[in-house]
């Protein structure tokens, strides 16, 4: 039990630290690399939750593909540290932070109120899931969620066509500066 707890605290420390640096670092390239670290940490947390296949997919898709795209675009633009990373305006900033605080309070309150209801059956239920759930995942995906799967195929096709059209768009209403 203590080993599990230690791994959880260690991983959550890494994840939270790198997530904070995504938000705080002025250089967007460092932000992107911190986000990669966050995603690797979340993938490790998935492993602690027994979702091995999803952890691998998280590494392949998020860390290996999406973030490569982000880093590549940042390097194409060659954006160094910005002079002003955060938006101006003290009143609006305070309002935004207050919004975040309010939402955090709501979620925290909800968690506290629901603590008695959710936590009890956890260990008994957790044993139901097979240790290597990849096959179970495939079977459920291709029986219960098969239409979602096909819809995502169409979505990906539309996106592939749309991004190519966007990336080569010329002209428009604005003259070139």
């Amino acid at each position: 039990m203590t080993a599990d707890a230690f791994i959880f605290w260690f991983l959550s420390l890494i994840t939270l630290g790198s997530a904070l640096s995504v938000m705080l670092l002025a250089n967007p390239v460092y932000s992107a690399l911190s986000l990669v670290m966050t995603m690797v940490g979340i993938s490790a947390l998935f492993v602690t939750l027994g979702a091995y296949f999803i952890a691998g997919v998280q590494l392949i898709v998020y860390a290996g593909a999406v973030m490569v795209l982000f880093v590549m675009v940042l390097m194409l633009f060659d954006l160094r540290a910005e002079l002003q990373a955060f938006s101006r305006g003290q009143i609006s900033g305070a309002l935004k932070l207050a919004t975040v605080g309010a939402l955090a309070g709501l979620i925290g309150g909800a968690l506290l109120l629901s603590a008695g209801n959710v936590a009890e059956p956890s260990m008994a239920e957790a044993a139901k899931l097979p240790p290597d759930a990849s096959k179970a995942l495939g079977i459920v995906l291709f029986t219960r969620h098969i239409f979602g799967f096909e819809a995502l195929g169409v979505l990906l096709l539309v996106i592939a066509i749309g991004t190519v059209a966007l990336a080569r768009a010329k002209g428009g209403t604005h003259a070139k500066h």
């Binding site: 296949f53 997919v57 392949i60 898709v61 290996g64 593909a65 999406v66 490569v68 795209l69 590549m72 675009v73 194409l76 060659d78 990849s134 096959k135 995942l137 495939g138 079977i139 995906l141 291709f142 029986t143 098969i146 799967f149 096909e150 995502l152 195929g153 169409v154 990906l156 096709l157 996106i159 592939a160 066509i161 991004t163 190519v164 990336a167 080569r168």
Partner: protein
Amino acid sequence: MPLGGVIFLAVFIALFGALLIVLARAAGGGLKTGTGVKFDPYECGIPGQEKRDTKISVKFYLTAILFILFDIEIIFMYPWAITFRDFIFSGQGLVVGIAMLVFLLIFIFGLFWEIKSKALEWD
């Protein structure tokens, strides 16, 4: 001890020592001996000609976008591949196979469209 063993050990010790030294150096930062052009970007000896902000083809980034989309489609095939035989044995093979065939046709159509629209041409 045979010669191979001696070499093995020697290389091992050398590499490990080197690792430690490099770590120490990285902590202290790069040495700054010598002056002037030594620390300029290397362009085969001539004085630096190129600015940092050279234009780079947008093709690289287009490739990366297409990679993401096709990569996800391939990832969707993995749970199918691992369970396909189980589905066949339980008699659902035809349904799942046709579902995957439709998905693959969408994939092939997308790939064919990208090739046709010259999004993958490099010249």
